[in-house]
């Protein structure tokens, strides 16, 4: 089955340039194509006409690397639940449909070109404290500390975050709380992460704020749009960790 679609895509030459939505007509799109393959086909057509192809981020195309982004018809990663853009298939669209594609938008995610945005703010948040300080060689035997299965499973649920930024893109406040809370939760739930939990919560929240992300007003749009189904229960846990570190513990913020 094939379809004809109209695309409205954000084109912006570079970070400083003005951008605008540009329309493209694309015919004979197979329903079995992935959304990114549809973009490939469009780009091939643009190249054959000597026009600049649309720049967009993508890599693994199996929903795990977190590189692909795109705000499709008003939704982060498009209309499908629990899915990244690369796992979205054209059968989710109809013949004759107009599809609007924009970059993820947030102060913390400046546009680099077309649909590519800079998400290095996430790396800086991790660098601020999203780790366990266990230099190579210091580890004891892996089974020395039993970890309650429920805690290990919840830690895994949180650790499933792929850092794509859909939570920020979908949030009306461009808040990065789901991302930050997933990492804080992953590490706070494991006994190995306990020694640094206070400093971690303080430092990561401080960095998150410094990057210009908004605050969480609990609309839970992030959870609904997260391709990995990260729960907002993690945000509550981050709040707990942060309140505890700020108000109850003797840990001083930097």
């Amino acid at each position: 089955m094939t379809m004809n679609i109209k695309l409205r895509i954000w084109r912006q030459a570079n970070a400083q340039a003005e951008g605008k939505l540009v329309e493209y007509q694309l015919n004979d799109v197979s329903a079995n194509m992935s959304f990114l393959e549809m973009m490939d086909v469009l780009n091939e057509q643009l190249i054959s006409k000597g026009e600049a192809p649309v720049a967009f981020d993508h890599d693994c195309r199996e929903g795990i690397c977190g590189t692909c982004s795109m705000y499709i018809n008003g939704r982060a990663h498009g209309p499908q639940k629990l899915s990244t853009t690369c796992q979205l298939y054209m059968r989710n669209f109809t013949d004759g449909e107009t599809i609007t594609i924009e970059p993820f938008r947030a102060k913390g995610f400046p546009v680099l070109k077309d649909l590519c945005v800079d998400r290095s703010a996430f790396d800086r948040i991790i660098a601020a404290g999203g780790y366990i300080s266990a230099s190579t060689g210091q580890a004891q035997d892996a089974n020395a500390i039993p970890v309650e299965k429920a805690a290990a499973d919840s830690a895994m649920d949180a650790a499933a975050c792929i850092g794509c930024g859909a939570c920020v893109a979908a949030c009306k406040n461009a808040s990065a709380m789901l991302f930050v809370s997933a990492k804080v939760s992953h590490l706070a739930l494991l006994p190995q992460g306990h020694p640094e939990r206070k400093k971690r919560a303080l430092a990561m929240v401080a960095q998150m704020d410094a990057e210009g992300f908004g605050s969480c007003t609990n609309t839970y749009a992030c959870e609904a749009e997260c391709p990995k189904g990260i729960s907002v229960a993690n945000i509550a846990r981050l709040n707990r960790e942060f309140l505890n570190a700020s108000l109850i513990s003797e840990e001083m913020p930097k």
């Binding site: 490939d40 190249i47 977190g66 590519c116």
Partner: protein
């Protein structure tokens, strides 16, 4: 130059211990003065960069992705092997070593593999300490499963996302060092050349992919942790950006390329659905535990299915050919990866393939559902079935899955000695980028193990052997003529690509190259086909440099240009793979030569070919020169694999 693998003397079990006890150390005040460049931030690169920074070296890390966390190690599903013997089922370092050597079809270096098996246990400890959420039993201890036909349960896993969790562990360790200022991170940077001065690797030329600017970076040593080159086939399970460029530039600067022809083809991938297909998705091999593989017995039935006149369920039981069960009665549907892959190809070549393209076979769960009930199958494979129906819009509970083999992993890579150093002093290769540990075929759950072993536990020791001699070398200014020459060389190549302005896109060339490689240097190779293919690749390469169309400019974010320069390197690598495949007149592991088989089985030739082929670059129009590293097996006895 004669190859010296620098394998330490002594008993196999003592080599690594002895090595560690005697390798030269660098004192902390000198480490601060030594700069190390790490290219690639997958398991090998992230773990190496983090660990070297922890030791006190000044590290610069590079990745082409927008974040080091996105490297393709992240996509590994199954697990990571370690000889922990937590299950008390008889596992040991020796057994893991032996299984890896045997799995590699006796084409790997004993000493390296033994070391790998030894450090495997430390990897698990390290990862748990970092917070990797491995699966646990109710009592809170780590869970294991058996994987890839191993007789013991030694595979640690984190749901179906083991690679992701291990990479995030290494990434977090790396980010910690970045935060501490010990690592300078360069994301969205692609290495485009190695700089050598007086025969030693002294830095790289990297392109800032956002601004397009070329940058010169000095390092006392350069570590290439840049993964495999499966994308030479265009379609593979690799990420779109995976490329050979870094390794290839090293090869052209004097590093030998080891065993380029060894390619692992994974039997259970979702088949190609059309011309637009950009990559192939792997389905876990565990599916073959309960699924039965078949094609119709007759070409007529297969044709009817392809044309949509018949459904698979219309084919009567006695009209189906359960070919794996028929050919390999004792292993049946669980026959090893290479054998299952080839059998599928044979069935399709025989005109009995299914699916629109005819390039697919069925993996049928009807019997298992009848025997165990739908809920059991759902419990075991629910997420995989979901993924399948998500991609294909078919329900595998009622219609058999369609599967086909796909390129998955490349065992070949830059030749390295025991220290992981290439033939260029100061230039190292780690993880999938080197050739070292998997021989001709890699076992399941071993790739993650090797990447982390190299990065966390091998290079931190072995690099001392080299850097202890470099403590008097001051940082070389990057206006040194060698840097200028290398940068000019890169600039010229990029300008050339942009100036051709031909008629065909980069992707078109990449697809054509991939098809040649898949048809002639894929699952089944012949001398005749390879000879023809070499010619075709050369012609295609010549045409590429005449007629490719690359849009945009060099000084901007230009994904078309990035791709073009990668494909240009694949065009050259493809030929080397063919040359290597042509030279190896035997069948072993991921290299099957149709001429060398016995009753349909791969026939190894240990007398003549028990060596590593390390290729030396002699100019692109000249034949590369092969150097042999003879493989000496002191511990294991060479045996023939049989799965009948």
């Amino acid at each position: 130059m004669a190859l010296d693998s620098k394998i330490p003397a002594g008993d196999l079990q003592q080599k690594w211990e002895d090595y560690k006890n005697h390798v030269k150390l660098v004192n902390p005040s000198n480490k601060r003065k030594l700069e190390i460049i790490v290219v690639g931030t997958g398991l090998a690169g992230s773990s190496a960069a983090a660990t070297l920074a922890e030791l006190g070296y000044k590290v610069k890390a590079f990745c082409y992705q927008d974040s080091p966390r996105r490297a393709h190690s992240i996509a590994a599903q199954g697990g990571i092997n370690a000889a922990k013997n937590y299950k008390n089922d008889g596992d040991s370092v020796y057994r893991l070593f032996y299984d890896t050597i045997k799995g590699g079809d006796f084409r790997a270096r004993e000493a390296n593999v033994y070391r790998l098996a030894e450090v495997s246990v430390n990897i698990i400890d390290q990862c748990v300490a970092q917070g990797v959420p491995f699966a646990r039993e109710y009592g809170g201890l780590l869970d294991n499963r058996s994987f890839g036909g191993a007789q013991v349960s030694r595979t640690f896993y984190a749901r179906g996302q083991t690679g992701q969790q291990l990479l995030i562990g290494a990434y977090q360790a790396l980010e910690r060092q970045i935060g501490l200022g010990n690592v300078q991170m360069y994301s969205r940077h692609e290495m485009l050349d190695v700089v050598t001065i007086d025969g030693k690797a002294r830095g790289i030329i990297a392109r800032d992919l956002v601004t397009g600017k070329l940058e010169r970076h000095f390092g006392h040593a350069v570590l290439l942790c840049t993964g495999g080159y499966g994308n030479v086939f265009f379609l593979s399970t690799n990420a779109m950006g995976c490329n050979v460029t870094a390794a290839w530039k090293a090869y052209k600067r004097g590093a030998y390329f080891g065993n380029p022809c060894y390619t692992q083809i994974h039997p259970t991938c979702i088949p190609v659905s059309g011309e637009y297909q950009s990559k192939l998705t792997l389905m876990s091999e565990s599916l073959r535990n309960d699924g039965r593989v078949w094609v119709p017995k007759t070409q007529e039935d297969a044709k009817a299915i392809r044309e949509g006149r018949k459904k698979p369920t219309d084919i009567a039981e006695d009209a189906r050919d359960y070919y794996l069960e028929r050919k390999y009665p004792s292993y049946g549907n669980l026959a090893p990866r290479d054998i299952s892959s080839r059998a599928a190809k044979e069935a399709c070549d025989d005109g009995r393939g299914v699916g629109e393209s005819g390039l697919a076979v069925y993996l049928d769960f009807a019997d298992a559902i009848k025997r165990l009930g739908k809920h059991v199958i759902e419990e075991r494979y629910g997420n995989l079935f979901d993924m399948y129906s998500h991609i294909t819009a078919e329900d595998p509970y009622s219609v058999p899955m369609r599967i086909y083999p796909a390129v998955h992993y490349t065992m070949g890579g830059l030749w390295v000695d025991y220290d992981l150093m290439t033939t260029v002093p100061g230039l190292y290769a780690l993880g999938e980028a080197n050739f070292s540990d998997h021989g001709a075929n890699r076992l399941g759950a071993s790739a993650l193990m090797q990447g982390l072993a190299d990065g966390y536990f091998v290079i931190p020791y072995t690099i001392g052997a080299y850097l202890s001699g470099e403590i008097f070398t001051k940082a070389i200014p990057t206006d040194h003529p060698a840097f200028v020459e290398a940068e000019n060389h890169v600039q010229t190549t990029l300008n050339n690509l942009l100036s051709i302005q031909g008629t065909k896109s980069v992707d078109q060339y990449h697809k054509e190259l991939g098809k040649i490689m898949w048809d002639y240097c894929g699952m089944a190779r012949t001398a005749e086909g390879l000879t023809k293919a070499r010619d075709m690749v050369r012609k295609l390469r010549a045409e590429f440099w005449q007629n490719v169309r690359v849009t945009g400019k060099a000084d901007e974010l230009n994904q078309d240009l990035e791709k073009a320069q990668r494909v240009a390197d694949f065009m050259e690598l493809g030929e080397l793979m063919i040359v290597d495949a042509l030279e190896r007149n035997e069948s072993c592991g991921g290299h099957f030569r149709v001429e060398f088989q016995e009753e349909g089985e791969a026939k190894r030739n240990d007398d003549t070919y028990a060596y590593v082929a390390a290729w030396e670059f002699k100019g692109i129009e000249n034949n590369p020169v092969m150097h042999k590293e003879e493989l000496k097996f002191e511990e294991v006895k060479l045996a023939t694999r049989s799965y009948k």
